[in-house]
Amino acid sequence: MGLLDFLRAKPRNSASVAKDRLRIIVAQERNGRGGPDYLPLLRSELLTVIMKYTKVDIEAVHIELDHEGGQDVLELSVTLPEHSPPAR
């Protein structure tokens, strides 16, 4: 690495941004695979309902299918904003 590169201090290298983005999206997509056929639409509709009642950023919503002791569990977690006013 040259001196110029060093001085041109990049805040964060783009490969690590890529890795974080991929980790999340790949996990989300793997999670849906092999699940029930209705899962993608269920996810879409759940998101729609959540957005109807709250103003959360859609990226703060996690919908996951978990396998626990032979059972499938649908996990939904929503990080609400600090003072979350109703959407309407």
Binding site: G2, L4, S14, V17, R21, I25, Q28, L41, S44, E59
Partner: protein, 270 residues
């Protein structure tokens, strides 16, 4: 009036999605209302390049199947208010994309007064590629300076003039612009890569823009920010020139010469 522009190539991996993302962004930066649609059913990727992969709730096929309204499925860009993305579906069922369905979505975008609809075509000449170009008013054919890409683009130019709605109406088909991407001035200078003149001569069309091979394309896709947003990137600037030329602005081609390393850079690296 809504103008539908297809970004197509025949050959895979030449830069269609990169071009679609920057073209759509460049048009929206000029305050036009733009929708960019991923036609690559089963292999959604435009969302990643646009940086909205976690905001996809409904997709193109959901709209065609009436599981969602178009309004619900359009994702508004984080940076530009007049830019919207319609993601491809992840379904394996490619039959899900129908001509009627595509037409309905495009008609609705017309009613919603979009100025431009950019259709990011999948590679190949199958259903997805066919439907991406079928309703187009204009085409951007992406070519790499490389034998198979040039041959495939000629094939695509043929399809644009016959297997499209304009072609079937007999009005000369879809007018096409050629955009050369991943251009290496060094390799051309060394005689190892087709030059712009070579490509123009073979295709019989003039070239609207040349995007140099540049690392910034990779860092931009890592970050999910179309490269045209990067004012330090030669590729981004070349895309900005291309958009300007679409509006008739006279922008000379640049970044075609072998870059000479400055003394400072030779000493300090970079």
């Amino acid at each position: 009036m809504t103008e539908i522009i297809v970004v197509t190539s025949g050959k895979g991996g030449v830069g269609k999605t990169t071009t679609s993302a920057s073209l759509a962004t460049g048009l929206a930066q000029r305050n036009h209302k733009v929708a960019v649609i991923d036609f690559d059913i089963g292999l959604r990727n435009l969302d990643l390049i646009m940086g909205c992969e976690r905001r996809v709730v409904y997709d193109f096929i959901n709209v065609i199947h009436k599981e969602a309204t178009l309004k619900q499925a359009l994702i508004r860009d984080k940076r530009l208010d007049s830019l919207y993305i319609l993601a491809a579906s992840q379904t394996r069922d490619k039959e899900a994309l129908t001509q009627d369905g595509v037409e309905q979505v495009l008609d609705e975008l017309r009613q919603d007064e979009f100025d431009y609809v950019i259709c990011d075509s999948p590679a190949g000449i199958e259903r997805g590629a066919h439907l991406a170009m079928y309703f187009a008013d204009r085409a951007v054919v992406v070519v790499n300076p490389e034998v198979s890409s040039v041959r495939d683009s000629d094939r695509i130019l043929g399809l644009l003039s016959s297997k499209t709605r304009h072609g079937e109406r007999g009005d000369g088909g879809v007018p096409a612009h050629v955009v050369v991407t991943r251009y290496h001035p060094e390799k051309v200078a060394e005689g190892d890569m087709l030059s712009l003149e070579d490509i123009e001569e073979i295709l019989g069309l003039s070239i609207l823009g040349v995007i140099p091979e540049h690392d910034s394309v990779l860092t931009s896709s890592n970050q999910g920010i179309p490269v045209i947003h990067n004012p330090d990137s030669h590729a981004g600037l070349a895309y900005e020139d291309l958009v300007a030329r679409l509006f008739g602005e006279d922008r000379p081609m640049r970044f075609l010469d072998v870059p000479r390393k400055s003394l400072l850079k030779r000493v300090f690296g970079g």
